[in-house]
Subunit: 418 residues, 2 copies
């Protein structure tokens, strides 16, 4: 799929290992869960380690049911510092009576092998909810995991955090800050249980930029609102969502400690990383065949634009129509209409677009003549843009990402305990 | 499927014609829409007429995009009086520049043929959004429609309002009011674009009870909250939702004009009609193989119970698991957790039940040992109960209805312009 890279940023390889001084590894330690029909042959335990202590920030799910690792990670980065990330897939370590104990144990095991303190470790889990996490495979695999750490181990780590993902999702960019070349890279897992209400899914971002933990947190919180929070696969807000950033300072730039021009560059890089990861996630939504990008403009406020854009990409009926490549714009208007925001539906216009062209399907809240054949041709592409003007005087705008609703979504989630 | 009929109410045949003095008819007038792949051989125009003027009340969609018939009906029952209902399927008469004009024309045509005033007529449309409604087939069929009115024409009318419904949905009951036998019956269409945010779908209810329009409105608004508003198929709030009640007074009971015991009986009958119609609708949700009934108890407030119950029946992941007959209770807890209400997730318990038995799957927010085989057996039934205790001291409770998410939902809505 196409990457969106603004001017001033250069794409590079390496994902979470692209920035200087970050090693990673992933192994198959052998986690499985009761009811698993097959043991997937894939990595299930990942580790990312910085050569030096990093400024750290994170945003978490707002689901009241929270994975135990979330609670432990919150404690560990309370001081704005961290050094490593340990993550397992297969089992979410959520809704278990001993969840916090096990999440702490994961940190202790990693810390012991790395010669660090448990409080230096960020921990995350993803997988089936409500099954006790067996710690033995993790304990048994820790030595191998640490010994295998390399400065190009990003792909092994990425494989270990994937669940129903069909594509690895990572990106890295370089940018200038204070005359120095900085690098930032990220990886993301997420395909189902994806709904914009906070960080959504697991995302890990590393950078060698030198910047205060407070500003990393601020940049991250701002970016989440317009990137991961604007993506939805199925309306289900995960219990284990977490996005975190580690900034090592190894690049040697003058430390960023205020919202100056250099901070602006950092923010642009972070937004680029997170926007592209969000788009990759939506495109790889469970069962998806298409990425849907909804752009809302001419809104009174940014908030209104966001609410409308999210409402459209979340509509099951609209998503099924996209799978059917049917320009059933009435379903778009319907989703615009039930969005909980204030605007005049009689001023709404809708355009459907892709690399095959663009066609206006609705103007001032009513249908306009268009060629169904042309529309079908446009919708045959894998990346579809839905452009909505709310026709207000304001310049509020927003972008949201989703995917189509397909047989395979039902298959993946109707199958026993995916 | 099982009907839920409380003591004091007796089920009778006849749907909207069960009450004294209501005639109905449905014909195929020949409405079709651009893009329709086949002309369905089914009735598409319905009429219900009371022998005398009725107290009338209605509740409408809260979608900002409203079908033109909604606007016209609102005007016509502003005085709390109405005499007939004209409804077409196939075309929703929504998002059309001439929508209101056409909806008015439908009322004029029916009124002329019936010898009534257009203001006596309630009008509704359902079908594809955004295609101009051709008035000719309606004008051409009006004479036949009126001439064919009979006191047992409920089935013909019901067929005419159905779209993707696979089952006709009607019910009627008798009850005592002030020593007189009153009858109330209703019919409902609805299978997709169903989400609890107001009336949801088209529902027409007739009764011969004598009761003031104000009290009919109050009873209807109260019942909507706990019946139709608690049912969801796909999270999409329709643009054309409407539920209306016509009360003719023909039963001869002493007019009900205050919230006395007789009003209580009326309310009970109305709640029974609407609860059963809501359950039928959820069971016949597009592509559904199962009815899901979620009962939430021990909540601090009724509102909290409602929010949680709706959150569960709306979760795509949970619905797909029900299709797979998989007791994946983590998805239930996940949906409970992201419900926008205040409670302690560590006190939540979940039980799964059907005619095959019941099994506790989660207690105090954590999993408990249970037999997966037993759970699978329970979930093999067509009516599934999900019992959730929030473990609070309050006695707030609520019931919500939904269905499973299946391949057929995708097929029905991915197919061209269903």
């Amino acid at each position: 799929m196409k990457m969106m890279i603004p001017a001033g940023l250069t794409p590079v390889e390496g994902g979470v290992c692209a920035a200087k001084g970050f090693r990673a590894n992933g192994i198959q330690c052998g986690l499985a869960h009761a009811g698993a029909s097959i043991t997937k042959k894939k990595n299930d335990l990942a580790l990312i380690v910085a050569d030096k202590e990093c400024a750290a920030a994170a945003v978490y799910t707002t689901n009241k049911v929270k994975g135990a690792p979330i609670l432990v990670t919150k404690e560990h980065i309370r001081d704005g510092r961290a050094r490593a990330v340990i993550v397992n897939s297969v089992n979410a370590n959520t809704c278990n009576p001993d969840g916090v104990e096990k999440a702490n144990k994961m940190c202790e095991l990693a810390a012991a092998e790395l010669g660090l303190k448990p409080e230096d470790i960020i921990v995350a889990s993803t997988g089936v909810i409500g099954q006790v996490l067996p710690i033995e495979p993790i304990a048994g695999g820790m030595k191998e995991l640490v010994e295998g750490l390399t400065y190009d181990g990003n792909s092994r780590a990425l494989e270990a955090i994937m669940t129903t993902d069909t594509q690895p999702k990572e990106i890295a960019v370089q940018f200038e800050m204070g005359g120095k070349t900085c690098t930032m890279g990220g990886m993301l897992k997420g395909s189902g249980m994806i709904h914009p209400n906070m960080a959504t899914t697991l995302t890990f971002i590393t950078t060698d930029a030198d910047i205060s933990a407070e500003l990393v947190q601020q940049a991250l919180s701002d970016c989440v609102k317009i990137t991961l929070n604007m993506a939805s696969v199925d309306g289900d807000t995960s219990t284990n969502d977490m996005v975190c950033v580690l900034a090592s300072g190894t690049a040697g730039n003058k430390p960023v400690v205020s919202e100056d021009e250099e901070y602006g560059r950092f923010l642009m890089a972070l937004q680029c990383i997170m926007t592209n990861l969000a788009r990759m996630m939506a495109r790889d939504g469970e069962g998806a065949t298409k990425l849907i990008e909804c752009i809302v403009e001419d809104a009174d406020t940014t908030e209104t634009a966001r609410i409308v854009a999210k409402s459209v990409v979340c509509s099951s009926l609209f998503k099924a129509a996209m799978f059917g490549e049917d320009a059933n714009w009435g379903r778009i208007l319907c989703a615009v209409g039930y969005a909980q925001a204030d605007f005049d539906v009689n001023k709404v216009s809708v355009e459907i677009a892709s690399d095959k062209g663009a066609v206006m399907v609705c103007k001032n809240g009513a249908g306009v003549e268009f060629s169904e054949e042309e529309a079908k041709e446009i919708l045959s592409e894998e990346e579809i843009g839905i452009y909505i003007s709310l026709g207000c005087d304001g310049d509020g705008s927003a972008m949201a990402w989703g995917c189509d609703l397909t047989y395979d979504y039902v298959k993946i989630n109707g199958d026993y305990r995916s």
